[in-house]
Point group: C2
Chain length 195, copies 2
DNA sequence: CGTTGTATTGACACTGGTCAAGCATGGTGG
DNA sequence: CCACCATGCTTGACCAGTGTCAATACAACG
């Protein structure tokens, strides 16, 4: 298990037919590989998308935390629930929304996650992903991702130039995407006190 | 928050356009509503599919468990990770597999989950879902679910009569579905001891 | 018996996939 | 410095899988 300190990573699974589903992009502060710790065989693959710095810890450490730091334990549980809710949002997007909505949601999420650690990011950010990666995250082909990006651009919702994306109309994007920022609206007053 | 003691439930979200994505079916022993506890507004809706019995507990109880029962706390974390992995499997299914594979995976999962609390279930079980519910869980329409069930039947992989389904060839189904039983293969030796 | 919800089936439409080609970019080795 | 190559982006033509709409059948239930 690791905490990501710097850089961008992703986790994905490969299916029998060779296709890939990207489960999650990982940003600084995220915990990685907890699920690998509870199974004999890791259920997902981790991969760095840029130069990264991680901070490793092992099962014994997690076990010690659970015994000695109840508040931290509770926060780990909360964190895993936030991640779970983000996954259910993506599940609903894959099951019930159009290709354009899924791409829009991905762009909005990338922007919000990047902004969490870099407040200078507002409308524009570097899109550190290939269109194939966007496709594997949204359940589309790279070709169709390209078409959707062009449409969003033609409709004036985004602008692109040289790997950078600018969200020109976040409201319209969020409307098209059914997007909810799951890192807001938390209620954590019930957490146990620090020991 | 609740523990489901008896019956079948589901959790789902409704999107703006009125479509529904079923996130999860809930079986006896499952914990429900943890994610609702950490947000101000519940991110998902819970709904009973049959007569059910639940055992409620509140945030203060969870907080007390985190403080006084490290082993139980760790098991709750493990449980939420199992659920997370099951969600990622479904995410990969929605993003990257065919309609037939998704329906097959749902049938296999239902059988395994039912069997967990009723060992008398082997090949046949009562399908307590409408085809519309199967569709909302797999990201398909009820009409297409019907077509897929018929195909699976014609290919001799399942049989149906009066709300009961029989899995005639679980191996072939699992192959068609890319299915992994996530309640097996756990490694829990690192858990803290009971206090 | 009507009524309501569910299952079934067919005809047709459309979203998104597939295949193929061309183009831009940047890195590499001669 | 330049030819070469790999990778990723863009676009068009065509096709397949899935959705939509509509009609019918069936069962449960008041």
């Amino acid at each position: 298990m690791f905490i990501l300190r710097k850089g961008l990573m992703m986790s994905y699974v490969l299916l029998d037919d060779g296709s890939r589903q990207i489960l999650r992009f990982l940003f600084p502060g995220d915990m990685l590989g907890i699920s690998s710790a509870i199974y004999h065989e890791a259920p997902e693959t981790l991969c760095a998308l840029s130069d990264t710095v991680v901070c490793p810890f092992d099962r014994a450490t997690l076990s010690a935390i659970m015994q000695e730091h109840p508040r931290l334990s509770a926060m780990i549980l909360v964190y895993s629930q936030i991640e779970r809710v983000a996954l259910t949002d993506r599940l609903a997007a894959l099951g019930r929304t159009s290709a354009k909505a899924r791409v829009a949601a991905l762009l909005l999420d990338l922007r919000n996650r990047l902004r969490a650690t870099d407040k200078s990011i507002d409308r524009a950010f570097p899109l550190g992903l290939t269109q194939e990666e966007i496709g594997d995250a949204t359940g589309l082909t790279a070709v169709h991702v390209n078409r959707m990006l062009r449409q969003l651009e033609e409709e004036g919702m985004i602008a692109r130039e040289g790997g950078r994306v600018t969200l020109l109309d976040r409201g319209a994007l969020a409307g098209a995407a059914n997007y909810v920022n799951r890192y807001e609206g938390l209620d954590l007053r019930w957490l146990p006190p620090a020991r």
